[in-house]
Amino acid sequence: MTEARIAEPGEGKGVDVFGFVARFAPTLFLIALMALFAVIEPRFLSSINLFNVMRQVSITGLLAVGMTFVILTAGIDLSVGSLVAFAGLVAAAVAKGGMENRFTVGEAGVGYGWELAAIAAIAVGLICGYLQGLAITRLKVPPFVVTLGGMSAFRGAALLFAAGGPISGFEPSFTWWGQGKIGPVPIPVVIFLSAAALAHITLRYTRYGRQVYAVGGNPEAARLSGLNVNRIIASVYVIMGFFAGLGSFVLAARLNSAEAVAGTGYELTVIASVVIGGTSLFGGSGTIFGTVVGTILIGVLLNGLVLMNVSSYIQQIIIGVIIVLAVAFDTFAKSRRRKL
């Protein structure tokens, strides 16, 4: 009847070209960008280079997977870079055999092994994430402020812990997690893509995933529908912390070193990956697939610019502009699709 017809715009027979483009804009942009670089610089498409790109983005990619949960609830986590440094140093110290031995060099067999190191890194991430989640839900401090505080506090903790020097020189079983390969595929890439797949399944097919979208979409409605909104909001910071811990471990393994300035500026790249991938900063809409595309897009862009000998300063400018354009496009697409 009349109202049904009006109520279902865009569902008619005509193909909504604009809607399609808007939905797959990041993917289409990524394909176009890759085609462009391939034409300008044939080396770009070599499998070595492509795996290189993937390995480079895998750490920020891991963090972006966690950040997607946070941003889906309309939150933000600025502390990820600092947390990566702090958790990485803890992992490194464990791998080296504790606080006293952390600066010894090359003495294989002294440390506690990569397993404990990884657990320590993840535990630090989980605890720090949980503390931030508590501050946000119990003290009612906005996520921006809490994690801005975390950004400073965790960096300070890292500096204190490192006491000036990097911790480096791990056993091969440790560094394998950053430098090893399965066939041609670097381990960090395997970890990143597995984490993304797991997160995708969680968000798409589980009750918890639905609840994250619901809380992000309308917290009041979620509460009145019986969801424990505070617990869900706190949980996404714990998830973010988990990925920060895991990422710090992989990063330390890849660099065979952990230092207090590690991860500086990661928050920008990570948030950019999520937002470029189409997740709304206002919460309630976005996908892990988009985040993966956004992550790779930034990696491809940087890699292509490097191959074309563009200065790293200009790269930063370009990334900044692209973030703003991505959000502008998202806003524009939404206003185009809003009905009546």
Binding site: T2, A7, P9, E11, Y213, G226
Partner: protein, 531 residues
Amino acid sequence: MSALPNTRLSELPAESAAGRLILKMTGISKRFPGVRALENVHLEVGPAEIHALLGENGAGKSTLLKILSGAHAADAGTIELFGQPVTFATPHDAQRAGIVTIYQEFTLAPDMSIAENVFIGREPGSKLFVSWRRLADDTRAITDRIGLKRDPMTPVRDLSVAEQQLVEIARALSMSSRLIVMDEPTSALSETEVANLARIIRTLKAEGLSIIFVTHRLEEVFRLCDRYTVLCDGHYVGSGRVADTNVDAIIRMMVGRDVGALYGKRPIPKHGPVALEIEGLTRRRNARDPHAIELVDVSLRAHHGEILGLAGLVGAGRTETARAIFGADKFDHGAIRIDGKPVHFSGPRDAMTHGIGLVPEDRKKQALFLRLAIRTNMTIAAQDQISRGWFIDERREDALVDEFRRQLSIRMASPDQAAGLLSGGNQQKVVLARWLALRPKILIVDEPTRGIDVGSKVEVHNLLIEMAKSGIAVVVISSELPEILAVSDRIVTMREGRVTGEIARTDATQEILMAMMTDQRGAGDRAASAQ
């Protein structure tokens, strides 16, 4: 409906055809990607005329008004103002031409004063400095005209919804507008506030202003408006003098079908045992929440299979009572019993496990996830039923969605559509489905049909009646007395956080209820003198 020729335009009543028209919109068409919102629509408004723009939700009223106010551009058609063709590229253009639109959602800055809001962007004074005294004086001159008795320096946040609306009107007057467009100005107002607004609108008319008035309450049209225009499904259906028509005729034009007697007499069905009992529910004002409405010793009962109507003016404490029962807000003392057993809820989740559901007052802000799929909206509270372990079983979910889609005849293209794309009536049904899926014992429905078109209203009412028949204790809160009278079996009235009376529907009339809602002392004997 669309086949109806637009001949009525030429049969304009003599009086306004003779007087020069203020506004003449002709042949307006507008398409959005994938939707035809308006097709060859006309609207004519004469001088000093209150013009009702009518139609179901989705009929195209809002789009037409947005074109008139410069927020959208028409694809085809002309707008003439005082006989001059005009085009508005922006709302600012329209305002300069003397057309001011007051939307349902106000555009006031809550932390700024009344005066600053009225003269925002046009503050009196020199280029650099604002003359605060002139700002206050100018504002008072306008607010006095419309009976807003507040210090111009009061922050808008401290005003009631009705007062905020007056600030919007004051702003329109300060722009010396000739035509004020009001989009559902009464939907958030209590009956007395509506009466006050009506008085103000008549004053403005006497001063020579014209007003376009959008409402879903047809009785207001007949009380207040001179002429009307009806849209249906994006088409112009007709217009004429209100005095020449009646409610049934207008409803037929709006829905393109006979709805039948809107509020027919229905015998009071037999009901079961007491399902919900609250006793001495009290919530005091506290320092953290000074604007909260107090509840004083509220006691009431609802039976299985019964619809209890909770009537009262806005601010009477009905919503607050519902939220306290549901565990959404805390209260100081009082007892709640379900099926005779005392219960205490720490939050909505708790209330739900005891079989209570609450359909909140504000559909878009409190109930719906507008950007999420309809399926999520319908099943978010019933995840236990559609899951295996941590995972959603989509087959079970589809079955559940399908069941309620059919039972409530929810019109949607697909359950994966965003809920925000549905019409108001279908959105409300989705929210009802969310709660029905939980098979509640008690369902509290706050303003079940606010902002819903006439056809869907009847459907929702019938659903409520069906629910009661199935044994649910239904509590309906409504600011519309005809609605209370249409669905309730028993009616409890509230005023200023207190229960003021109880009456069987068959004994109640709008006048009696109004008296009970406005007078603390038992009101039956004063019914005659009410209003």
